[in-house]
Symmetry: C2
Subunit: 351 residues, 2 copies
């Protein structure tokens, strides 16, 4: 967490710029509780809807967008685009929390829990609309941006929706269903998560009219970073310690989530083990202690942790090689490489 | 209904054009059940997800948009904009059905009822994103359209969200709450319903670059028509016969909806009557027969039906006067005036 916090310290001024822009956009709207719900979710208001001065939002995707815009020498036009990415990302979280029945996010009640499901659906919708108004705002200041950027980002947004659809679909299917495969899982996280990181960097190329090759390199950097981060999160949610991650230990095993380590495991175990694992995963209840021990012993026997870590490494390497090919200064490259190291603390020690 | 059907006969070719465009957009996407949910909702697929040839969608808002574009001599560029309006309108219905717990729409199970609430939220989101991609598509063919149209429509979309927020807020508050007033009700239906009719006509002015005065007249026409239609619906949902309306008789009274006739009534009755009415409306249960009779007798005593009808008339008149001021041919004006008559069948006989 310390190393991760370091990144956010470096991003501090970008985070501030983005929050100021989002606050400005929200204050341009009518005085309705609906907009306070958004402020609450962003952490600008506390649970009593009183202003908070130090809310500590991290905004990785949008800060990265702004950092890269600056690296190419044009921060100004990208502030609204970065804000749009942040508005969109948080809109997805508002609706995901309803869809996943999550009651707590960032240590506070989720919007649906606090204001009711009906209002939470509608407030999410409004924030998706605000995202598009923010894209329009970005384009007012810069000629030629409009159509390209809106089209680029909305196509990505649609992929994110498709990813969420696929995620819910896979969650419902039994472990032995053909559709529940490692390949489909990778396709799902690509759409649901990685593509928005890809767009956060790629949109800089689109908006600044950089050569196609540069935009593709920016996308390659972000997409592979996004993939690495999602799979790293799968590792952390199975083997992480609560004091390091802030997440409940063995969370994904308790909840019997079919994440990459489980799908890799399922692809390698023998028929008896498959049957046992299916029985555990097909039961609607939370895993029992004995099941938990069995799953961990299988994961251990088949060396799944190290294998999954190798996948993370391979995505980080692809992301790093894309960084090397960017037309930005050496110090900017070094900063991006540092992020790719610091986001995965202690990964070398994982066995 | 016969007269109403006449309008949709006149719009037949527009409806077909819009459906073809929506089908084209959906077929451009990946082959995912998510898009079949949208096709099902539009009526392109039946309950077994088999193709339907004659689905009979009415698409009033989007057809009106296309009709007006044609009236100004430029139908082509507006097809995608009309399709975007239809995509948006149906997105709102997908989410409204969840928020209102409605299980049936157009005689079929709603999306959330058929595919689950979680998928219905996500599919609605995807359709709102497709709406914006459709706006981008509209702009590819026409220079200068992009930013203006996207900004114009998304601002309207945001108002629709605000309207839905206000609707749910008013539904929760007791009848004697200050916020539950006739004026706030009119503001709510303006945002929730009328403004999208206003935008369906007004966007033609924006997209075709008509003079401001013309765009304002188009908006005035649509906004007042939208207000009239919503209030007419309030009348029909209290006094309409099932064979005329297809709706359950006395529906809004059974469900104790605080629509305009009830708010007008509440503003006029004496304190004793107020207390009785509040007691009925504050009980969470559906209205009993005795309550129903009491409410109808009050509405009758205070002549609410005729009063509400006068309000509808006054909005129709404003809409008609805007039609007279449009720079379109006399035959087009006559057609629009005919719509404003046919949408309100037998209104003269209402007493």
């Amino acid at each position: 967490m310390n190393k991760e916090n370091k990144i956010f310290n470096d991003f501090e001024s970008h985070i501030k710029t983005i929050d100021e822009e989002i606050k400005r956009t929200l204050s341009d709207q009518d005085d309705l509780l609906m907009y306070d719900m958004m402020r609450y979710f962003f952490g600008y208001l506390d649970e009593n809807l009183k202003k908070i001065n130090d809310y500590g939002g991290k905004h990785f995707r949008s800060s990265l967008c702004l950092y890269l815009a600056e690296a190419y020498g044009k921060k100004k036009h990208l502030v609204e685009i970065a804000a749009a990415i942040e508005l969109f990302h948080n809109f997805t979280l508002i609706h995901d929390d309803i869809e996943d029945h999550d009651e707590i996010r960032r240590g506070k009640p989720t919007i649906w829990k606090k204001f009711g499901q009906e209002q939470a659906i509608n407030t999410g919708d409004a924030q998706l609309i605000l995202t598009n108004l923010e894209i329009c705002k970005a384009c007012e200041g810069a000629s030629g941006l409009d159509l390209l950027v809106s089209n680029y980002l909305n196509k990505v947004f649609l992929k994110v929706s498709e990813g969420q659809f696929l995620d819910m679909k896979m969650a419902e299917l039994p472990l032995n269903h053909d559709f529940v495969s490692e390949q489909n899982y990778l396709d799902m996280i690509k759409r649901k998560s990685a593509i928005l990181v890809s767009a956060s960097s790629g949109v800089v190329g689109v908006a600044l009219g950089l050569p196609d090759k540069e935009t593709k390199a920016l996308e390659k950097y972000g997409l592979n970073l996004g993939m690495a981060y999602q799979i790293w999160d799968d590792i952390v949610s199975i083997w992480g310690k609560e004091e390091d991650t802030g997440k409940k230990e063995a969370k994904d095993i308790y909840e019997k989530k079919k994440t990459l380590p489980i799908l890799s495991l399922y692809g390698q175990i023998n028929d008896d083990e498959k049957q046992k694992l299916e029985n555990i995963y097909n039961s609607p209840k939370i895993a029992r202690k004995a099941d938990l021990d069995y799953i961990y012993s299988l994961l251990n026997t088949y060396n799944i942790k190290a294998m999954t870590k190798q996948k993370v490494f391979s995505y980080i390497e692809k992301s790093n090689s894309a960084i090397e090919s960017l037309s930005v200064s050496l110090s900017k490259k070094k900063f991006l490489l540092d992020i790719n190291r610091d986001l995965f603390p202690n990964i070398e020690e994982v066995k």
